[in-house]
């Protein structure tokens, strides 16, 4: 049935409330945009990842070991569930790159000369694959090539087993193993100082005394095979050959980061839209409750003419749906635009052959559904009231509101407040629910501002705590093999070195009950001054006992707390297996760390004074010479600069955060204006008769405005502290949603962030107030009094 006239009412009513409707649609759009952004990016990333992994044969199980003869491969292939396997030689070398003073780490992976690898296959971006019997030919990872401007034909010098060699680049490649290209042990990419190379096995193996042997194996499993069982059997085979513990994709460093990102996007796809849509639903509720009460008599007339309850209800519901759909459309556009931006940003640290942003139709359909659902839920009670409004009752004017003297007046304090102030107080006291609802809306705006901004505070806090207060070294030097601590003492004589602290780190497996986890155990001197371990509250870990100190997250995973005995299987040297107590849990920021005292580790390893590397504090002015010296030391496997980590942190994380923050702040400002403006407009609409009456009996415009603005001001001032508290709570929820094994961010909200949130809300209130005051000037005094409300 076509209801032309009713449709016209619909469009004109919507048009007449276009400011409010648009404000609500924009709040919805903010929610939908964050949903589209997260959901579509998640879908794009997932699809890109799946396709890439599938086409290039990303392995299911990985293992590193010291050295095993090639014949062991046959026995690995016989493990039930193994479909394909590939054995390789993988080594780390120091690189001497022309435009870089400090040494860079190169990882060289062996590949067959005759054909490209079948497992962990390469995607050739540029140039060609290596050709048989040509010395020094390599493929280089795209990220490293890009940052150094390397193209096929260029060369890079490397220290291969103590001997300087020239690597000739013939092609630029990508690998599913290095979608997220990080140096072992790092959490942030440093493309400048870490590169991956692929070289002929025939050339690489002899240089490292690995002829007829391998030190890295990758497996592809048969569908349905038990990964845990294959890992168990593989470990058993590799243990005698210095196996470092096999692991599945879930623990693969690159994949872990990609899947972590997917998980964060999934969390973001729920929390942020939920907040925005909640606010939008709430606004719709307020606006439609008001609209329906002003249209009481129109509703009565419609029903008197024979429009059914259902038709009247549907009429108002359509208005809601129009707003919801407009919100969904704007939000989809905005979210798509932001998603494209995010995809571009991802290509900076996720290296896929292509990362195309796609918007699956199901995501759009879901977005529209969510938007309409939120709108319907928000207005259900209001619309239902319109639908069931008995027409005869609606014909009668609403009974005058029931006012009582306020508490203040009952206490006999009325002389303290002006008549205008009394009006404000009575209005607030008479309808506490309405006041509370408006207050909640404004509080929500403040809360969203806090949630949108606090991440920067938290990250700044982490940076300061981790890289300034806890870690005070200039660089970390890692050695090829554990050697005597004398080497560290000798480093003190290198140019510019101010102090040095040794550390010993061993790969290990931790077991507790049925839980097991591969970790690196780092042992340091108690009372160390350069590399210190702090929890997220800045508490220093003292290492006064001989047991293990674990990240709280690792403790959770193992189900082990202080005092519990855990089994430590060292995967190096003599591979001792010991029971150790957990001496403490550390509430820290990232990864799954395990620490212990240097002397305790030496004792259990049965060694004296062996170290894996050192933390150095160096004089900034003399670092160039220091780098040159370090580059030429055969024992040095790599040098990690703290400055570089902070730089890369700032580049990657901080920049992302700033963008997200900018988007959040824009959304929050939309909410703040949406809520405050709507509250003010509704107050005006509800009280226009009363205010016009006051004008008629001689109140000035300013006096009338002050009544309305006073109410808004009181609500805003109550709402701000509530909103800030709510913001802190929501921030905690957001933090909980991004909590993962890789990162944990403490919740830190600076006073400036609270101040900023409060300021924006006040500003929104002032601007909304001005708009409403302009409307007071246009109150039609005669018309308002002539007809009944």
């Amino acid at each position: 049935m076509i209801l032309a006239a009713l449709h016209r009412k619909l469009t004109r009513d919507l048009w007449s409330m276009k400011g409010q409707a648009l404000a609500i649609a924009l709040v919805m759009a903010s929610g939908i945009a964050t949903f589209i952004l997260s959901a579509a990016t998640m879908a794009s990333l997932q699809q890109t990842m799946d396709t890439y992994y599938d086409r290039h044969g990303f392995a299911d199980v990985f293992a590193q070991l010291k050295r095993a003869p090639n014949r062991l491969a046959q026995r690995i292939a016989e493990i039930p569930g193994v479909a394909q396997l590939d054995t390789r030689v993988v080594v780390n070398v120091n690189l001497d790159v022309e435009d870089l003073a400090e040494p860079a780490l190169g990882r060289i992976i062996s590949v067959p000369e005759s054909h490209e690898p079948w497992i962990n296959g390469l995607y050739l971006r540029e140039g060609r694959y290596i050709e048989p019997n040509r010395r020094g030919e390599v493929l280089v990872s795209e990220a490293f090539a890009k940052v150094h401007g390397l193209v096929p034909g260029d060369t890079v010098r490397a220290v291969i087993n103590g001997r300087r060699d020239v690597l000739r680049i013939v092609g630029i490649a990508l690998s599913p193993e290095y979608v997220y290209q990080i140096r072992p042990g790092d959490i942030l990419p440093d493309d400048k100082r870490f590169g991956v190379f692929w070289m002929s096995e025939r050339e690489l193996a002899p240089a490292f005394d690995m002829e007829g042997a391998f030190n890295d194996v990758s497996l592809i499993l048969e569908p349905g095979a038990s990964e845990a069982e294959v890992i168990r059997r593989l470990d058993a085979l590799l243990d005698p050959y210095g196996g470092l513990g096999a692991y599945g994709r879930a623990d693969h460093p690159s994949h872990q980061f990609v899947s972590n990102e997917l998980r964060e996007l999934r969390g973001m796809a729920v929390i942020a839209p939920l907040i925005f849509l909640l606010v939008a639903a709430f606004l719709l509720n307020v606006v439609f409750t008001r609209l329906i009460s002003t249209q009481r008599e129109q509703i009565a007339a419609l029903k008197a003419f024979g429009y059914s309850n259902w038709q009247v209800g549907w009429h108002y519901m359509q208005m809601v749906l129009v707003i919801a759909i407009v919100g969904a459309i704007i939000g989809t556009g905005l979210g798509t635009w932001m998603g494209r931006g995010l995809a571009v940003m991802y290509t900076r640290f996720f290296h896929f052959p292509i990362l195309a942003f796609s918007l699956p139709p199901r995501v759009v359909v879901t977005a529209i559904g969510i938007s309409m659902g939120a709108g319907s839920i928000g207005t259900l009670t209001a619309v239902r009231r319109a639908a069931i409004l008995p027409p005869a009752q609606a014909m009668r004017p609403e009974p005058p509101a029931n006012f009582k003297p306020t508490i203040l007046e009952r206490l006999g304090l009325q002389r303290l407040v002006s008549p205008a102030a009394r009006t404000i107080l009575r209005e607030l006291e008479r309808r506490p629910l309405k006041a509370a609802i408006s207050c909640f809306g404004i509080a929500m705006a403040a809360a969203v501002l806090v949630v949108g901004s606090f991440m920067k505070d938290s990250v700044d806090y982490v940076l300061d705590l981790q890289f300034r207060r806890a870690q005070r070294e200039t660089m970390t030097v890692t050695l090829n093999e554990p050697i005597s601590g004398r080497a560290v003492r000798e480093m003190l004589h290198l140019p510019g070195v101010l102090s040095a602290e040794a550390f010993r780190s061993v790969p290990a497996r931790l077991r507790h009950g049925h839980s097991t986890r591969r970790v690196g155990v780092t042992a340091i001197e108690p009372g160390a001054q350069l590399f210190r371990v702090m929890d997220i509250h800045g508490g220093l870990v003292e290492f006064d006992r001989g047991g293990l100190y674990l990240s709280t997250k690792l403790g959770d995973i193992l189900g082990a707390g202080p005092g519990d005995l855990v089994t430590l299987e060292v995967l190096e040297s003599e591979r001792p297996v010991v029971q150790l107590p957990v001496s403490g849990l550390i509430d820290d920021f990232s990864g799954l760390s395990a620490y212990m005292r240097l002397d305790a580790l030496h004792r259990l390893m049965g060694e004296q004074d062996r170290v894996s590397g050192a933390y150095l504090a160096a004089d900034d002015a003399r670092t160039d010479r220091l780098y040159t010296e370090l580059k030429n030391m055969p024992a040095v496997a790599g040098v990690a600069l703290k400055k570089a980590t902070v730089e890369s942190f700032n580049k990657v994380i901080a920049e992302n955060l700033m963008r997200m923050r900018a988007a959040n702040v824009i959304f929050a400002v939309i909410i703040a204006f949406g809520v405050v403006y709507n509250s003010a407009r509704i107050s005006l609409a509800e009280r226009s008769r009363e205010l016009a009456t006051l004008r008629v009996i001689g109140f000035t415009r300013a006096e009338v405005a002050s009544i309305l603005m006073g109410e808004l001001a009181v609500l805003t001032l109550i709402a701000i502290p509530l909103g800030l508290a709510l913001g802190y709570t929501l921030s905690a929820a957001v933090i909980a949603s991004v909590d993962s094994e890789l990162f944990r961010i403490p919740i830190v909200v600076n006073r400036t962030t609270y101040g900023f949130a409060a300021l924006v809300v006040i500003l929104a209130a002032v601007v909304s107030g001005l708009v409403v005051i302009r409307r007071i000037a246009h109150l039609d005094l005669i018309e308002v009094l002539k007809t009944r409300g």
Binding site: M1, A5, R8, K9, A300, F305, G306, Y307, A392, R788
Partner: protein, 245 residues
């Protein structure tokens, strides 16, 4: 000046038969007895005026006849149907098909033009006249596309009448149709109602507290305190344009 019109003979068939109507409202803690046992008949083509002060129960009676409200006790028959047995959906159907309402405050939809306000009803009616024709009937053929805010009070009320009659209702119920209007405008509006009653033969009930308007009725019923106080038949009806107050 035309001669006074002869009053209609007692009508052939009753449109409404109300018996023993009572209506009690609960407002807060107080019970208000709006109707206390009203019997009333309205015949085809008849024009009645319901007189009475505020609170006498006129509007309640009209709302019950129009299916906007239900009595606490008593029965209302519309032709062969017992309205008191109707549920909400049936009452809606009844209003849609048979009843035209005119209210004191017009109750036009401000966002719709005159024509569209009428179309609001013709959109859902079974056998409506075109909106423009209904508006011509009330003398507003020239103001079809004006919004309520661009029309005078009398014009707005005539739009409301056009809206009420466009569906060709069997009954036209008017609650204080001139209550918000001055004499001149009021008479124009009454003329429109009179014309609808005469030309379309629509049984018409007009509520007013203005005793002058009673002169144009076939029958005048005065209510007081929820009861019918007096009832009399006009021997001659006065044309609306002859009225003065």
């Amino acid at each position: 000046m035309p001669a006074p019109v002869a009053s209609s003979p007692p009508a052939t068939a009753a449109v409404f038969q109300a018996r023993g109507l009572t209506k009690t409202y609960h407002v807060g803690e107080i019970d208000i007895q709006a109707l206390r046992g009203v019997d009333l008949d309205l015949f085809e083509g008849e024009f009645i005026v319901l007189l009475g002060p505020s609170g006498s129960g006129k509007s309640t009676l009209l709302n019950i006849l129009g299916g906007l409200d239900v009595p606490t006790a008593g029965t209302v028959r519309y032709k062969d149907h017992n309205l008191t047995e109707y549920d909400e959906a049936a009452l809606t159907r009844y209003r849609r098909d048979h009843v035209g309402f005119v209210f004191q405050f017009y109750n036009l939809i401000p966002s719709l033009t005159a024509r569209e306000n009428v179309a609001l009803v013709t959109d859902i009616a079974r056998d409506p006249m075109p909106p423009a024709e209904a508006l011509r009937l009330v003398g507003l053929g020239e103001r079809l596309d004006h919004f309520p805010s661009q029309l005078s009070g009398g014009e707005q009320q005539r739009v409301a009448i056009a809206r009420a009659v466009a569906k060709r209702p069997q009954v036209l119920l008017c609650d204080e149709p001139t209550g918000a209007l001055d004499v001149h405008t009021g008479i124009v509006v009454l003329e429109a109602i009179e014309k609808v009653n005469r030309e379309l033969g629509t049984a018409t009930a007009v509520i007013t507290h203005n005793a002058v308007i009673a002169k144009m009725a076939d029958r005048v019923i005065a209510l007081s305190d929820g009861r019918i106080a007096t009832e009399h038949r006009n021997d001659t009806k006065t044309a609306a344009r002859e009225l003065e107050w």
